[in-house]
Each structure stands twice: as structure tokens, then as C-alpha cells.
């Protein structure tokens, strides 16, 4: 008689890039990775591929960093231009 059990071969749920990482408005490097280098606009969820919670946290943190004077608004900090690409965007 087959016993009822959950699928043991299921993969663990897919994690987004920032799944375990704490997002802070102070680490400008992390926040700049989700901003366009030409206009400084924040990438949408279809580009970053983050889950709901993390996308909202990142947007709030970026806007805070703009107001407090940590991150430039109209462009990306040239110091962080050579960071590894996290968003799937083609220039």
C-alpha cells in the first residue's frame, strides 16, 4: 500500500540574490548595484529578479540614501561602476 508523504525529491525553494543578506541604507555599494549607471533610476523587479520583500526594502533604502546624502541621485557613483552585475540588463 503506498504511504502518503510529501514529494521527497522536491528542490528547495528558489532563493533570490539577497535572500540572507540584511539590507541597510548605509552600504552604498550594495544599493548602487541595483541602480542604472546612466540615469540613476532604480531597476524594477523584472530586471533585478528579487523577491517582493527584498525589492521593497531595497527601494526604501535607496530613497533614504538619496535623502541623507549617501548616494547620488542622477547617476551611479563612479567608484562602484566595476561591480559584478546582479541585474539582467543589456547595455
Amino acid at each position: 500500500q503506498p504511504i502518503k508523504m510529501e514529494n521527497p525529491y522536491k528542490d528547495p525553494p528558489k532563493k533570490c540574490v539577497l535572500c540572507g543578506i540584511n539590507v541597510d541604507y548605509k552600504n552604498v555599494q550594495l544599493l548602487s548595484q541595483f541602480v542604472s549607471p546612466y540615469t540613476g533610476s532604480i531597476y524594477g523587479r523584472h530586471l533585478t529578479g528579487l523577491c517582493n520583500k527584498k525589492q521593497r526594502e531595497i527601494t526604501k533604502a535607496i530613497k533614504r540614501a538619496h535623502v541623507f546624502g549617501f548616494m547620488p541621485v542622477m547617476f551611479k557613483n563612479p567608484q562602484f561602476l566595476t561591480d559584478p552585475k546582479l541585474c539582467n540588463i543589456k547595455y
Binding site: P13, K15, C16, G20, N22, Y25, G69, V73
Partner: protein
Amino acid sequence: LPQPETAAVLKRTVEALMQRGAIVRNLENLGERALPYKISKHKERHKRGGYFLIDLEASPSIVSPMMDHLGRDIDVIRRAFVKHPVAKAEECSGIIPVSPEEKLSAKK
């Protein structure tokens, strides 16, 4: 801003905070660097600034008088109060796949 003046500014703010009954837990210096954009404040255009972070414990009625006080201070370029981020448990369950029918019915 030269060093003794920054020390004086910090001392003034901390003393004003303690006067209104705030408990200062920690004071961090995030370094002095070029501001991301030029800020004009108190009839002066600023390009460089020092960043300081003060850990506070206080009642919320202090916020508006403190913002006034810091606004009148010439040496303070920008002021802000932020809630202490409580380190929540790392329970990120990952991306839960949503079936396309649910998406269609849920959205307006």
C-alpha cells in the same frame, strides 16, 4: 570643517539631546568624504562633509524640537532621525512560484 570644530559640534548636539532626556548609546563616525551632490545650506554651497551616526534611546516627543535645534545649527548640513532597524529572523523563504491563473485573478 577642521577637527576641533567638529568635536565642538558633536558635543553640542549630544548635550542638547541629553538635556531633553535622551540616552545616547553609541556615536559612530562614518568618515569624511565628498558629498554625492552639492548641498546648499545656510547660504553656503557644501561639497565635503563628515558623516556621524548617533545611537539614541528617547521618547518620540523629542524629535521635532531636535530637528529645529539642528536646523538652526550652521555647521550641520543635513539632519535625520531613523528608527533602529530591529534585526529580524532570517526567514526568507525564497521565491514561491505563483501559477499564472492566480496572477490573473488576483490583479485588478
